[in-house]
Every structure is written in C-alpha cells, then in structure tokens.
Symmetry: C2
Subunit: 242 residues, 2 copies
C-alpha cells in the first residue's frame, strides 16, 4: 500500500512536470509529493530535456534539496511573477479548495501560489475529500507573541487546537520562527468564512486554507491519473494536457 501511494505521487508529479517548459520561472512546494516533482525536474535538466529553468523554493528544505540536485534557484524579489507552481496538498475538496501546511511551509507556499499564474496541485487520490477538515486538521501559523489568545480565539470557533511539536517533544518552529496550531474543525461547511475570520486576527500570520488558488489538480490512484481544472474565475486555464 505504502509503495503504491508512493507510485501515485510520482505519477502525478511526472504528469505535472510536463507543463514545465524551457525558460520558465516556477515555484516548487514542500512535502513528499512535491519532492517527486523536484526529482523529475532535476532529472530532465540533467538529461537536457529542460533548459533555462529557474525555481523559487517554498521552504529552506526545498532550497537545499534543489541546490544539491543542481536546479538553478531564484527568488520572488528577482522574479515576482511565476509561470506556474507545482505543490502538494493535504486535503482537496471538489471545488479544488485545499488544506495545506502539514509540512509547516504554508506561508511561503501561499505567497508563491499567489505570485503564480498557474498553481498545479499534485496528489494521490487519498487526498480527495468531500469536505475540507474531514481528514486533516487546519494548520495555522501564529506569532509567538500572541499564541495563547489565538488558541482561545480558535477554540471559540469550535475547533480543538493542538500546538505542533517535533518528534523530540520540542515546539515546531516555521522558517519564520513562528508556531503552528493544528486546528481540528471537523468537516467544514463554509471554509471561506473560517479563512476570513482567521485572516482578521493579527496574530495569525497565515492559515492552511487555500481557497480559489489552485488552478489544476492532478491526482493519481488505482484508476489512473485525473486532471481536474478550476471551472470558473479569473485563474481558469484552458491549455490542453501534455
């Protein structure tokens, strides 16, 4: 089973990388699925099938991994508008809204997504969900200064809140030095309202709800690869696959 899931992630990643063309500036997400996209891009560069690519990494870890594999890096300050980004997700609903942040890189991932013309999400089918919050807690990045009032505020919205820790019991810190609250809301009827309430809170640096951001979702599973496209809105794309 674990091996199959790994294969599905890899299949979705390879399909997504077909959209990366020579001379593009792209974003690359953090996490086990996006990592397969990184490996695929590195291998196509090595084989000369992909030329003159620049990558904005969504975490310090992705930055290191890309460097080790000879992928040329850039920053949003050098290239504020990206052609596309390939990233994973923890949970995906039928409207292509997402929960992200299981790996803790949600802030940079959302900054990069908002700077991208196209946001391609790759996943195995286990990430599909009828409603966000069914399978995953919502990660919320909070500045240490306001931690406790924010826990109380999010509890007042009906969520059970856990402060994320590392395996050794120390507090998990993001690349920005903030904490992550994993907020168990259960299945959300109205994720956009929860997003809005969290965005109004000063201590919330960012939350893992990606509403209206993904333009494409490529999922692989036992029945093959599916390519879902956002139906409406300004970010819709109509390019043909491959």
């Amino acid at each position: 089973m674990a091996t199959e899931v790994t294969e599905y992630k890899q299949q979705a990643a390879q399909r997504a990388v077909n959209y990366v063309k020579n001379d593009m500036v792209i974003g690359l997400g953090h996490g086990s699925t996006a990592h397969f996209a990184l490996l695929e891009i590195a291998s196509r560069i090595r084989e000369g099938r992909l030329k003159n690519i620049l990558v904005v990494p969504c975490s310090l870890e992705v930055e290191r991994q890309a460097q080790q594999r000879g992928i040329p890096l850039t920053t949003l300050n050098e290239h504020p508008a990206l052609d596309l980004t390939i990233d994973g997700a923890d949970e995906i609903d039928p409207d292509l809204n997402l929960i992200k942040g299981g790996g803790g890189a949600l802030l940079r991932e959302k900054i990069v997504a908002q700077a991208s013309r196209r946001e391609i999400i790759i996943a195995d089918t286990s990430k599909l969900s009828p409603r966000l919050g069914t399978r995953w807690a919502l990660p919320v990045e909070v500045v240490p200064f306001g931690l406790r009032p924010e826990i109380q505020f999010i509890q007042s919205l009906g969520a059970q809140v856990t402060l994320r820790k590392n395996a050794d019991g120390t507090l998990f810190k993001t690349d920005q030095g903030n904490y992550i609250l994993d907020c168990h809301f259960g299945p959300m009827k109205d994720p956009a309202t929860i997003a809005h309430l969290l965005e109004k809170r000063a201590a919330v640096v960012e939350h893992g709800l990606f509403i209206g951001i993904a333009t494409d979702v490529i999922v692989a599973g036992p029945e093959g690869i599916q390519h879902l496209r956002r139906k409406t809105g300004a970010r819709s794309t109509t390019e043909s696959p491959e």
Copy 2:
C-alpha cells in the same frame, strides 16, 4: 505649536489612565502619545495611587521603557485577556476606525488590541480625519520573502508604495524582522474592503487599518478633551467617565 500638541497628548493620556484601576492587566501602545500614558502610570504606581497593575508592552521599546520606570510587565501568554489597552493612532475617522503603524509596531498593537476588552485610543485633535488615508499612508508589514510581489499587488490596488527606511538609509525592520510598506492610498472610500484584500495576501503579516477595534477615543485640543465612544457593536462600553 509643538509644545501645545505635546500638552494635548499628555492631557489625553492622563484622562485615559483614569480608567486604569488597581489589579488590572493592561496593554500599552508604542509611540509618542502612548508614551505619556506610560509615564502617567509609572508616576501613579510610584505615588501608590495605582496598585498591582500588570502591563503587556506592544513593542520591545515600550518593554524597555516600562522596565526602566518600574512598571511590572507580563505577556499575553500569561494573561491572554486584558482589561484594557491604551494606545495612540496616526489617523482617526468619525467611525473610530484608525490608521496605525507610524512607529512600526502595528502587528503587536493589533494583537494586544484584539486581546483587550476595551481599546482606548488617545490623540491630539490633529489626528482626526474625515477619511482614513487623507493625512497618512497605510503601513503594511510584509515578510521579506514576498516583498516584491506584494509591492506590485498593492500598486495594483491604486496605492503609491514606499519601502520604509531608517534615518541612516538602511531598511526599517519590525520587531519580527519584517519590512514596512507605506502605502499612499489617498482618502479611502471603503477602508474595510482594502483591509480585507490585504488580509487575503499571504505575504502581508498585518496592515495598519484598525476597523471596529477602538472602543473609546480620547482627543485633546484647543477646545478641551473629548471622549468619543463606539456607538454600536459588541465592544461598546457604557461606563461613566472618571
């Protein structure tokens, strides 16, 4: 003129400190007007007129100043709900909405305000304005990682954007290590919509629009001291003055 403005600030501060009672836990803002409240509290503690007060400072600078003057400090993590906060503002509209952040402490000031049952804003009358944005640029705190895309986004909303610098020409950094964009929108017809658009942006840590947050505004000027109270909403208070 400068001397008079200083006197008005002091008058407003002294009036606001009348609402601080023994055993309260309060927030204290950053800036020249709030500094007079800090001095007044220190002097009342010294004279034994105020007992068992604890203060949450809104910046590292306020923390140092309070320590030097013997004001007992605490944190939001020890006291996540504050009785009241006294703070200044750069611009105040007739609905008691504010622009804050001239001093760069907007993030902590908003966190403290949102954790306070009562937010008392003190100012001289020069801070009153028919419309936010008339007299002051809107400060927006942005993570360095997403600086340039965010400048472009805010320009697309129609603002002229300046990256804040220190007097010596180096980039101004907030207590969290972020940058401040001073965004010249001009008089805003709908500050709440601008706030909402900025809150949706991942790279925006916080902005200086305080909408529906102030419960009281105490302004002093040539015609004396005025105490304005929020008319509607859950945060309205009806205590009598002094």
